[in-house]
Symmetry: C2
Subunit: 173 residues, 2 copies
Amino acid sequence: MQLSMKMQINCIWGLRVSSNLREKDGMTEIDRKTKKLTEALRHAGVRITRQRAALLTVLAEAEDHPEAVELQRRAEEAVPGISLSTVYRTLTELEAQGVILRHQFEGTPARFEHTETQHHDHMIDVETGEVVEFANDRIEQLQAEIADAMGYDIVHHRLELYVRKKGSETPRD
Amino acid sequence: MQLSMKMQINCIWGLRVSSNLREKDGMTEIDRKTKKLTEALRHAGVRITRQRAALLTVLAEAEDHPEAVELQRRAEEAVPGISLSTVYRTLTELEAQGVILRHQFEGTPARFEHTETQHHDHMIDVETGEVVEFANDRIEQLQAEIADAMGYDIVHHRLELYVRKKGSETPRD
DNA sequence: CTGAGTGCAAACGCTTTGCAAGTCA
DNA sequence: TGACTTGCAAAGCGTTTGCACTCAG
């Protein structure tokens, strides 16, 4: 999987590369993400309970796009009885704060990820459910031009490529 | 709303312009669409019941992107007691036949439209729910290149711009 | 005739909500 | 302390399904 290419693709990630090694200031990247998330909540006048702290850590650690039940499962390590309603309530709150994103891919429960600095879109492998992130400035620009030409401002957008590994069986839709 | 522009936008529709005037062969465009849909069903060895005939007509007439309940409402003119289950079952069947498309926009029930010859994407006005169609070959091409570079074939894709009319209140997200 | 299609009601999966009990600041 | 958060159970919503009845072919 080549990460740099000539053509229009200016940026592509596969699985996110996370460096959880200790860094100069003694914090891991996850520590930093957790802190960012925690502060977002505190700033909104929200209490940091055990449940929320656990979820914040889990979200910061996540390198995939887990769904609510999966987040509950992961949070249970720290807070055994955490309820699904609490998970959903926290996720809704965090989404409102803009620190996580909710993705509603086709035919699956919503999946969540903490907001990255760089915007990106998603490719979903229809066979495996695996999600690959990618970004392309040219597409973003074209979208903006189209909306503009129609007299609209884009509030947000959604570009999802439902794909299949080359050479898999049943190559037709 | 200008329909032709210089730049990259090669094709944009607002509300679909439907010419339901009688044409040379004595059929309206809706007749033709209904026939196309009916034949698709019959071809699949599916019986054409009153309910299905009504739905086919309603779908052919639709210039918007109605949801299941709305289709039921419209079909009731021809078949008073038509049930929502029948509507859903028929829609699922038609989708499988590839003659209609199911769109799952954010926070709303699925919306349906009969498959047009030309592929297009959607712009959804977040204030009004209104849907505007657009198409852009360049974006399609870029998507294909990205998937290809990552070793995937696109099964299908989804590009939705959630927009707000320029100059509406609360211009921020 | 006879099996595919229907309406009804009940179940479904995901998500939200009301409420009493618990807890964080 | 006292308002905010939790867990539980129940409700919500869009959609699907089991079943006996009906009807198209």
